[in-house]
Subunit: 123 residues, 4 copies
């Protein structure tokens, strides 16, 4: 039986706020992608970052081990290149085995804690 | 292979808050639609705005270039006609190629930053 | 061609906060259901409210006119019976024609504005 | 006719904040899973909790009676073992009859009320 999930996911509304307040690391403004691999095989995940006015950057690689969840902080993606702050971006996430992806944003840039999130769009 | 996404999307719960605090433009109260075109063809997108007590307004046109994401601030849609503040509306988004749509709201009208968002409903 | 949407929707996580701050009516704590009827036929919508420890209450009727969006404030549903504050409930929404449903909550009960929302679950 | 819903759900982005402010229990920081069983048969629900760096824990059992909604506070899941605070986790929810699952988080840890939520991913 296939594990739950899909292999192709998209988050269109990425944007890492410029400023933060509060103690690091819990209250840093950040975009986070939570990926569950409920199956028995390690997942090789590759992400592409799309921008509004420049070519997309491919090749952000993440492994999610079998029967593990992994939270990927977008702020921390630096290979092949860091994702700039305060710029709109979208994430496309491709996995070789089914996974489930949830997007979460914490924004403390206006001196208060605001959160939003949604299950990503999957196919 | 088709790019990821669908060609018909809806956001029922639109409402641009009347007031804002904070520095422009980052902290303006606003409804935003993030649209990813992951494919190799420019997307011609047309939006219809529905209201509670008047006829819908068709013909808001946006192009999302191939392999680009675009954030459309609903507050800034003025052609054919501006969308009024503090009025309930819904957005219907039709694209000639598959795209993915996420809705995001930032509300700073009560002197604090509140956010919500969701992947739109797609078919 | 069928209008976009589905005829059967569910919001499991209803809960109207007990307290509010701020000016009425914009800053009242509330649960809201936004329903878009993008079609050319008026939609007859019937809602059932489920509770944790008592029988569900059926028969909340709402009409959404053709090509209109309607925001239903759950706090204001009083026929056949008002929905109590500070009690968990779920909404089941059935329409005779396809509609799209988004859930939105505004909570000002802790002296600040918090929002959440999601496209409802549809079949 | 089958009741609305699915039997297999996932929430990847779990995380119970460490701190809270405000009056108990309404303003405790918490992750909540709202489960609607709209059918005529009691639902036997079993949850598995996945972590980033340890084996998943199976066997969290919850019954949702027929035609009832139940909010499960993840903070309160202690059998077979309590879920630690401030640790990333994912929830997999399996039911013997169709249900609908919504995830909700309330975070009061930064001295203010922030909320997020989404319909879970279902199959």
């Amino acid at each position: 039986m296939n594990p739950i999930g899909k292999t192709h996911w998209v988050i269109p509304g990425g944007h890492i706020p410029l400023c933060s307040i509060g103690r690091e690391p819990n209250f840093t403004s950040r975009d986070v992608v939570a990926i569950l691999n409920a199956g028995d095989t390690d997942a090789q995940v590759v992400m592409t970052v799309y921008y509004a006015d420049r070519d997309p950057v491919e090749g952000y690689s993440v492994e999610i081990r079998a029967r593990r969840v992994r939270k990927v902080t977008v702020n921390a993606l630096i290979d092949p290149v860091a994702i700039p702050l305060d710029v709109d971006y979208a994430l496309e996430i491709t996995s070789d085995v089914p996974v489930v992806v949830q997007f979460l944003r914490q924004d403390t840039s206006l001196g208060m804690n605001a959160m939003t999130g949604t299950i990503a769009y999957g196919e």
